[in-house]
Amino acid sequence: MNVKNILKEIEKVDPVVYDRLDTRRNTMKQFAGLAGKLALVTVPFALGSMFKKAYAGENRVETVFDVLNFALTLEYLEAKFYQMGNAAAVGGTLAIPAGAAQAAIQTIGAHETAHVAFLKSAITSSGGTPVAEPVFDFTAGNGTGLGPFAGVFINYPLFLAVAQTFEDTGVRAYKGQATDSDLMMNNDVLQAALRIHSVEARHAAHIRQMRKTNGGLVPAGVNVKPWITLKQSGIDSAAVQASYDGEEITNQATIEIVNINSQVISATAASEAFDEPLTKAQVLAIVDPFIV
């Protein structure tokens, strides 16, 4: 199973990964803040120094690698997806329209590739071992190539639908890691994670507009917006729903947002105004079918 493979890889660097499943977010936070202040080249070294200081003599250095490798796995997924999409477009088998659409997919793909490089160098320079890039099945077929997204690299609307799902899921995944207590204690790492998080949101907004323009796989009567309305995927496939469940809430920290303080705020707007996190377990369940 895919999740088990991921965990086995993580376990190689973190023998107690199974005990730490709820601490990844801390690691993400550690990582996030660092990049804000440092030049690209120096970030990995600074990360390594930071981790060694923060976790000297403790097992917890492995927790950091656990988290970074989790993020790296998600970025591998996205980066490879866009690499293959761009290659298919160049090869003429995926009809991404020339011009703005191709340029946008290239831009997004370049960011995901940059995220992979950033995470890998951070892990390596910290004395850890980046997980190897998994083999992906972008049909979500667990290696059969026959999953619900079969044809993803020859069917442009399907390609965009999967891209949107990856981006919206990525936003939720990073958000879910933000409040780990260890991460919150490390300003630099937290800040870097937040900066990746909002880039994924920019991507999601643009892919959503591309889908609106294209119109394919958009259920009848659904208006795909740059933001997430209730728990609507805007995609005519039940296979993506887990990435949207929970987005419909309108109550934040016990404060009801609908018509708050006599403002005219619909449930639609209230749900759109706040994106919701996913737990690590939820994210792993979503990406599992994509990993062979």
């Binding site: 950033f118 958000k175 937290l190 990746i196 949101a201 920290a253 404060i255 006599s262 403002q263 706040f274």
Partner: protein
């Protein structure tokens, strides 16, 4: 004094009251009945909010939440004005999505007001004199500035928050601001949603300190605000 619906102060004070928007020009400026209906409660904060350098946002997590509240007030007031005096040349879809953004920003503003309760700064008076609301280019340029600034502000403020629940809330909001920013950028020039002016070579988004952001925010505020007591690390 009139009080339509006091803030609940649920995050900070279990039984807080009388928070929020003051009766000042901020509301009157918009002329929107819906806005005026919110809350003309003015028992806001003590007088010590005011000093020579502007309204003090405060310290600690309350200060950071007030910082966010100030920015959301600014954004909400801007979009309310945009929709009240719409520029020519905007498509129906474009204006509908701008109305969505307005509602999101109002939701954010009111959320912070209630969350802060009696700790909230008063309503701020904006100064949008630099913006020509009848001109699409001027409005969208300002919108882009507000949204990018908002993203950079939340990205920079996250590390200053000490309470996990507040960080989660900031995270829930910042990605929506990033969606706004991406869309605004795209309707100005398609494909600029995450160009090199927003995302660096490492694939990282904008980030700014409160000090940097407040310089920008104060250019749009008649009521100046001060972050002198905000945490810096």
């Amino acid at each position: 004094m009139p009080e339509i619906k006091p803030g609940s102060g649920k995050l900070l004070t279990p039984a807080g009251n009388a928070a929020g928007i003051s009766r000042r020009k901020f509301l009157g400026y918009t002329g929107a009945a819906a806005v005026v209906a919110i809350g003309i409660s003015s028992c806001d904060k003590d007088d010590d909010n005011n000093n020579s350098s502007g309204i003090d946002l405060g310290s600690g997590d309350v200060g950071i939440l007030n910082y966010a509240y100030a920015l959301e007030q600014l954004e909400a007031a801007f979009y309310i004005k945009v929709l009240l005096t719409p520029y020519a040349g905007g498509s129906v879809t474009e204006m509908a999505l701008l109305a969505d953004i307005r509602d999101h920003e109002i939701a954010h503003r009111e959320f912070f007001k209630n969350a802060l309760g009696s700790g909230a700064i008063p309503g701020l008076t904006p100064d949008f004199s630099a913006i020509n609301f009848s001109d699409r280019t001027s409005v969208l340029a300002a919108a882009k500035a507000f949204e990018d600034t908002g993203v950079s502000a939340y990205n920079g403020a996250g590390k200053l928050i000490t309470t996990p629940a507040y960080l989660t809330l900031a995270g829930k909001i910042v990605s929506v601001e990033a969606r706004h920013a991406a869309w605004i950028r795209d309707i100005i020039s398609n494909g600029t949603f995450a160009d090199s002016t927003a995302v660096d070579a490492q694939g990282l988004d904008l980030v700014a300190t409160p000090a940097q952001v407040l310089v920008i925010a104060n250019t749009y505020l008649a009521t100046k605000i001060s972050g002198n007591n905000l945490p810096t690390s």
